[in-house]
């Protein structure tokens, strides 16, 4: 399969490619939010989906600057390459970065650190996220979640209502028709907005290739000290306690998703370019979260439960 490009001129028959259609849809959504909400914020973790979302936001308002700040919920257990990328992108675009810290929430006694070999700060992110939304008075929060990545997300709206506790009620969602999004809410409530709802992992990579979007280096194959747990390669790090028999070895790996280092697994790969990654993604038989997220393996409804509490 050849790599489609977004910059190709439209055909004489007034057709758009699938990437041009998805790009137009996402830009429409982002502009709709900027027009209708008072204080939007864009969640930017430095991961590929949020990097694509930020790229779309830049395009939506060019030549003006992106008219809202970005926010990162920092678990304190990040890959340094990702934090470096985050800070550099924010500086290049002249954006304001808000960091909601899980460590501070732990220090203040608002959440309790999990312990043991399976410990992760992933779930703890919800508290600082909701606090930051409340403190800053954000009424719209852009997230990079896609419907193809997880089944609880498959049924979430593009404009997803959250009550004053930040909760999502999957059984009581607003109907969403045409491109007429309903962002009305009362003070204290907010809307999560997902401009990449209709993108697949492959679309994201094809768009990264077509647009030349920069990503953190850990998405590309590199040598790393890793150990195997539950069929996944976890990176050796100061935050993960190895169980007995979990031996560290050097492997050529890359990350398909970027999250908390304690629960994000790497896959063995030799793909060092975007084109090689596209070939790899097109041929893969395992979903990205299935391959790399320990947190989604807790239970069939792990994601739904976290989302109900106000998670991304």
């Amino acid at each position: 399969m050849t790599t489609p490009t977004t910059s190709a001129p439209p055909t004489p028959h007034y057709q758009l490619t699938h990437l041009q259609t998805l790009e137009a849809e996402a830009i429409h959504i982002i502009r709709e939010v900027a027009a209708e909400f008072e204080r939007p914020v864009l969640l930017f973790s430095g991961g590929k989906d949020s990097a694509v979302m930020l790229h779309l936001a830049v395009k939506a308002f060019a030549p003006a600057k992106v008219p809202f700040p970005v926010m990162h919920v920092d678990t304190g257990h990040n890959f340094p390459e990702v934090i470096e990328f985050r800070d550099r992108r924010v500086a290049e675009l002249g954006l304001r970065l808000i960091v909601a810290s899980v460590q501070e929430a732990i220090d203040a006694g608002k959440v309790v650190e999990e312990t043991g070999p399976g410990a992760s700060r992933n779930r703890l992110q919800t508290v600082p996220l909701l606090e930051a939304i409340e403190e800053n008075g954000f009424d719209a929060v852009f997230g990079g979640a896609r419907r193809d990545e997880e089944k609880a997300r498959a049924k979430e709206r593009v404009f997803s209502f959250r009550d004053e506790f930040g909760q999502w009620d999957p059984k009581n969602q607003r109907p969403e028709l045409w491109n007429l999004y309903n962002g009305r809410h009362r003070k204290g409530e907010h809307i999560r907005v997902f401009p990449l709802s209709n993108w697949t992992e492959l679309d994201v990579w094809q768009y990264v290739a077509a647009e030349g979007i920069e990503l953190p280096s850990i998405y590309f194959a590199h040598t790393r000290r890793v150990f195997q747990r539950d069929g996944m390669w976890l990176a050796e790090s100061p935050w993960v306690t190895r169980r007995e028999g979990e031996e560290v070895e050097e492997r050529m790996v890359r990350f398909r998703t970027v999250g908390d280092a304690t629960c994000t697994g790497a896959i063995e790969s030799t793909a060092t370019t975007v084109e090689q990654i596209i070939d790899e993604v097109a041929a893969t038989r395992i979903t990205e979260r299935g391959a790399t997220r320990a947190d989604d393996r807790i239970s069939e409804a792990g994601m739904e439960d976290r989302k109900r509490e106000g998670y991304f």
Partner: protein, 423 residues
Amino acid sequence: MELLRFATAGSVDDGKSTLIGRLLYDSKSIFEDQLESIERTSLERGDAYVNLALLTDGLRAEREQGITIDVAYRYFATPKRKFIIADTPGHIQYTRNMVTGASTADLALILVDARKGVVEQSRRHAFLASLLGIPHLVVCINKMDLVDWSQQRYEEIKAEFRSFAMKLDVHDLAFIPISALHGDNVVERSANMPWYEGTSLLHHLEEVHIASDRNLIDARFPVQYVIRPQDQANHDLHDYRGYAGTVAGGVFKPGDEVVALPSGLTTTIEAIDSPNGPVAEAFAPMAVTLRLADDVDVSRGDMICRVRNRPHVGQDIDAMVCWMTTEGDLRPGQKLAIKHTTRWGRTLVKELQYRLDINTLHRDESADHLSLNEIGRVRLRTTVPLFFDPYRRNRATGSFVLVDEVTNNTVGAGMILGPSGID
């Protein structure tokens, strides 16, 4: 590669899940971990077969009750096209979900059981597809293996469906005899039905011509957001003023003489900026920014169009409305918020002209309200003028949603017939 959005509707026993499962599986869009997970869950639940609905029925309540709550979106691609399926459940809140899924669809897929023929549900599907203005309808006559691959049975069903569809606004109607279970005519053409001369379903989905479905005649640009960099340091940008939005119809070119509504001021398009730089043309559904030659007063909710081809402008509208909430009925005298293109206003329900029985198409003129999942013709009066076209001419400028002003919930979906009093 083009994107095709299609809507399916139906229940488990007409083979819809099997058909979708086969399309996904044969296009390698079901992943091993997903398959393992649903195999495990099916086994635990004691299902007789691997229930592909579990692929997206991931919500706790859905798995506990064995029901599909909502529209599920599924994605697959072939080397020719990328597909988005809006899969709507057949039973609970059927109309509301089908209307939602159909609102953005290019094509509707209707399944008919070859043994049962055209039933009430098939008629309902076809009617909703036509009401929502879906340009292409594909009727898959399924379970052909159970009627001995009979051409006569296929022709009977086709004739019956055709005679019903004549009453509807359907432009492109295709029939394909299939066996979803055995894969006949789904991806590959079937050797069991040599009398069928058409293509397989997947081939049809890959080839159906959708590019001319959009309205390329009536240029419509609802202004979404005004871009003003106001960059003091950059003199080139200091005076930049662009009107951002998504083209809702027609073709715009630099040099076009245009009018801004409601002001009525005319000017010309100086330039069109796309996400990838200046372009010579913009058409639906491109998201672009128009720059105008004169400094006219234009803001969000206004409409830019060609001087000699304007939409209706008015506050009195007749429309078909589908009611979507259990929290109260639609009744004459009621006031609601309305969103049409990028414009919000308030509206008064002046009159309910009739309620439509979607099974028989009978019009009940004595009806005094619409409840959840009911469809009727209403007359509305809005607080602000809307710039609209009939829905059947333009889905983007002919659609609106109704929102409850107390709960902020979306409670109705509307398709404009025209200005009040003109049939």
